[in-house]
């Protein structure tokens, strides 16, 4: 079971109060997690990745296991701790203005 922590505004949009738990089939990568997240919560489509380019939105970051994985390949395997559910995959809004 993969654990994902969303930024507060996306928790509100998805109507979840805490972390999200997802089943991810196959290798656990950023793309696999986001595909599973959007399948379970369609209202999040386009809010984390651009619809057209499928790129991470520029003011969002991906963290896990105290590392910034934002610039890793979306198809790179994530740490074992994320794949096992021991550690969450964090989607963070950049702290910039507002």
């Amino acid at each position: 079971m993969i654990r994902v922590i969303l930024p507060p505004h996306l928790r509100t949009l998805a109507e979840v109060e805490d972390e999200v738990q997802l089943d991810v089939v196959g290798q656990v990568t950023q793309r696999a997690i986001l595909d599973a997240l959007e399948a379970s919560y369609p209202m999040l489509s386009g809010t984390i990745r651009d619809h057209a380019t499928r790129q991470r939105r520029p003011f969002l970051r991906f963290f896990a296991c105290a590392e910034d994985l934002s610039h890793e390949s979306p198809d790179a395997p994530l740490p074992d701790e994320v794949a096992s559910g021991a550690e969450p995959f964090l989607i963070i809004g950049a702290i910039a203005g507002g």
Binding site: M43, S45, G46, I48, A52, R57
Partner: protein
């Protein structure tokens, strides 16, 4: 007794203000979608409880919300706005080619007859339509593709399609306006488009009389006379009596002919309203006096409406989608400011009072007159 429902989009959420026909006591609900920019909310003329809202964020992009109960509850619907084909380029601020990139929805215009049909004006400028209540969106490609698109350029607020006027007598005719490209019209439901900017003059483009490139801020129409259009341009207030084929300036005695909003009285097609704003770049009322100007002659002769509005030390702006009129017997006017006030007049502008004073900066105001 009739009611009014005022739909207010702000930089940090949506607010819904309701009152009976007297328009003296108001209930305020919100913020809905707190923390998000709500560029626009509008109700369906065919089903006033069907509302659409454009919810957007620099972090999370675009969301479209839909309500079936007048804004009591909402559900996110489709937010996939993908340009038709290869997007191509428009001009950047310095005139160099720049690729079309979707940023946000500025304006939602529900169909006059079908609650599930709604148009969206977006930045970078394009017109989209949904026929399924906002679940899916398709670009109307004839607008960007008609030929002048590569010469469009952004205004200071972005290259936005901000005005969509549906002709109530001719379902095939739609007027739209873009900053900074100008006004455009289709007569065949969106298949083909052409610029309608003859008579506009803009000193900030190489050819002041060019076919496109004008920074049109807003267009208004009275539904009983859809061939008569009123325009607030970056500079100049203009009117057209031939569905945009030609325009003439009617700025007359306004203290400045810059501004964003323009609207028409619900029952008097020659009575129009603007809020003059000082520019370039100050973008606050001249002399610190917030004044609505009314012309009862379709332009040229204007009177200042000040009763109940701040007449000193006022330095707010009124943005292009932030004025609306109700259709009660005594026409009501509403406008919102970047200072978070929403002012209302229940007597066609003679007197004003704030409904609410301390909202986030107001981006848009729409009003529904309900039975």
């Amino acid at each position: 007794m009739s009611k009014v429902r005022v739909l207010v989009g702000t930089r940090k959420g949506a607010f819904i203000l309701t009152s009976d026909g007297k328009r003296e006591r108001w209930d305020i609900s919100g913020p809905h979608f707190g923390g998000w920019e709500i560029y626009h909310i509008k109700g369906s003329p065919a089903d006033p409880n069907r509302l659409y809202a454009s919810q957007t964020s620099g972090w999370f992009g675009q969301v479209i919300q839909r309500s079936n109960d007048g804004g009591a509850t909402w559900e996110p619907v489709g937010n996939k706005f993908v340009y038709d084909g290869v997007p191509g380029t428009h001009q950047w601020y310095d005139g160099t080619p720049h690729p079309w990139e979707f940023k946000r929805v500025w304006h939602l215009e529900p169909s006059l007859s079908d609650p599930d049909s709604v148009y969206a004006g977006v930045e970078d400028a394009a017109l989209f339509r949904s026929a399924d209540g906002g679940q899916t969106w398709q670009e109307i490609p004839g607008l960007r593709g008609h030929g002048s698109g590569p010469r469009w350029q952004p205004g200071a607020g972005g290259m936005c399609l901000h005005t969509i006027l549906l002709d109530p007598r001719d379902p095939g005719r739609i007027f739209i306006a873009i900053s900074a490209a100008g006004a455009f019209r289709t007569d065949d439901g969106g298949q083909t488009w052409r610029p309608i900017n003859r008579g506009l003059r803009s000193q900030y483009i190489p050819d002041p009389n060019a076919e496109v490139g004008h920074c049109v801020h807003r267009i208004a129409m009275h539904p009983s006379r859809p061939r008569v259009l009123f325009m607030q341009k970056h500079w100049d207030v203009l009117r057209s009596d031939d569905a945009g084929e030609s325009w003439r300036e009617v700025s007359g005695n306004l203290p400045t002919d810059f501004g964003f909003v323009i609207d028409v009285h619900a029952h008097e097609p020659e009575t129009i309203y603007v809020v003059p704003i000082k520019s370039d770049s100050e973008h606050f009322p001249p002399e610190g006096k917030l004044r609505v100007f009314r012309s009862r002659t379709g332009g040229n002769e204007w009177e200042a409406l000040t009763k109940g509005l701040p007449q000193k030390d006022c330095y707010v702006n009124v943005l292009r989608d932030a004025m609306a009129v109700d259709s009660l017997e005594s026409c009501g006017l509403y406008f919102g400011t970047t200072g978070g006030q929403v002012y209302a007049s229940a007597d066609a502008g003679d007197t004003w009072a704030p409904i609410v004073r301390d909202l986030p900066a107001v981006l848009s105001v729409e009003v529904q007159t309900l039975p």
